[in-house]
Symmetry: C3
Subunit: 107 residues, 3 copies
């Protein structure tokens, strides 16, 4: 079935961290825009964040797919950290969308 | 001490993912109800989510208990992913409760 | 390069869980203060939480540093759980800061 080597896995982990980090930065820009009541711009920024997070999600999904197909690899602390970055950023995006609704409501 | 086999561990991971996913779906339904100012229904939906997440939490706690008692198993990417699902869903529930307070305040 | 033994790693994991848990408790105290419109006190509590989370973050960063320097260790379920505690608490703090802004806006 083959095995992914640690060096290759580290590359994937760093890619997930970088892509998630880009998305997270955009979400925080969206929060700043919400505070300034620039709701259309906040919307647009969250859409950009969404596209970026989809990339990180795809990178992670590829790895899960390899796991499911029987390709073996050892989980190290960096890969755990990468998955945490991705999943907390996904969550932050969901919450940012709800907060934008609330911001629009209070004007 | 015994050892949990990968196939059994995968089953536990999928259970945690499914139960967390059910809870997460209910939380998003609660967010929709908040947007519509249906606060009592949002409250009820969050209570349902809480009960569902407790199941996922219990499944995870059982595994931690086995670990603590010396039963051995290798962590794979799916189990990391399952724990991320559980912990981010727990967090989302805590935030949904706070957002419901804020929604009620602004009416 | 050396290797960190499981017992030592468990100690680090518990430290991260405890420090993150302290921070998380302070964030929830801040949420309670927000609900009571005690915004200056909520601000102060979030600052305290920030300092506590920095400790947990430092404990985790030390471990990542060891990993980067080639020191080897096996990831177990407790260390995954510890990282989840840290990362979801960091996320909760970011959201609490945004919610405090919104609370101040609605008064």
């Amino acid at each position: 079935m083959g095995k992914i080597q640690p060096e290759e896995l580290q590359g994937v982990a760093f890619q997930i961290i970088l892509e998630s980090g880009d998305g997270r930065g955009m979400i925080h820009q969206a929060f700043t825009l919400m505070r300034e009541a620039k709701f259309a711009e906040a919307d647009a920024k969250l859409e950009m964040a969404k596209d970026t997070i989809i990339k990180a999600h795809g990178t992670h999904a590829d790895l899960l797919q390899k796991y499911a197909s029987g390709i073996n690899f050892d989980i190290d602390i960096l890969m755990v950290h990468a998955q945490d970055h991705l999943m907390t950023t996904l969550m932050l995006k969901e919450i940012a969308i709800e907060m934008l609704h609330l911001y629009k409501k209070v004007g």
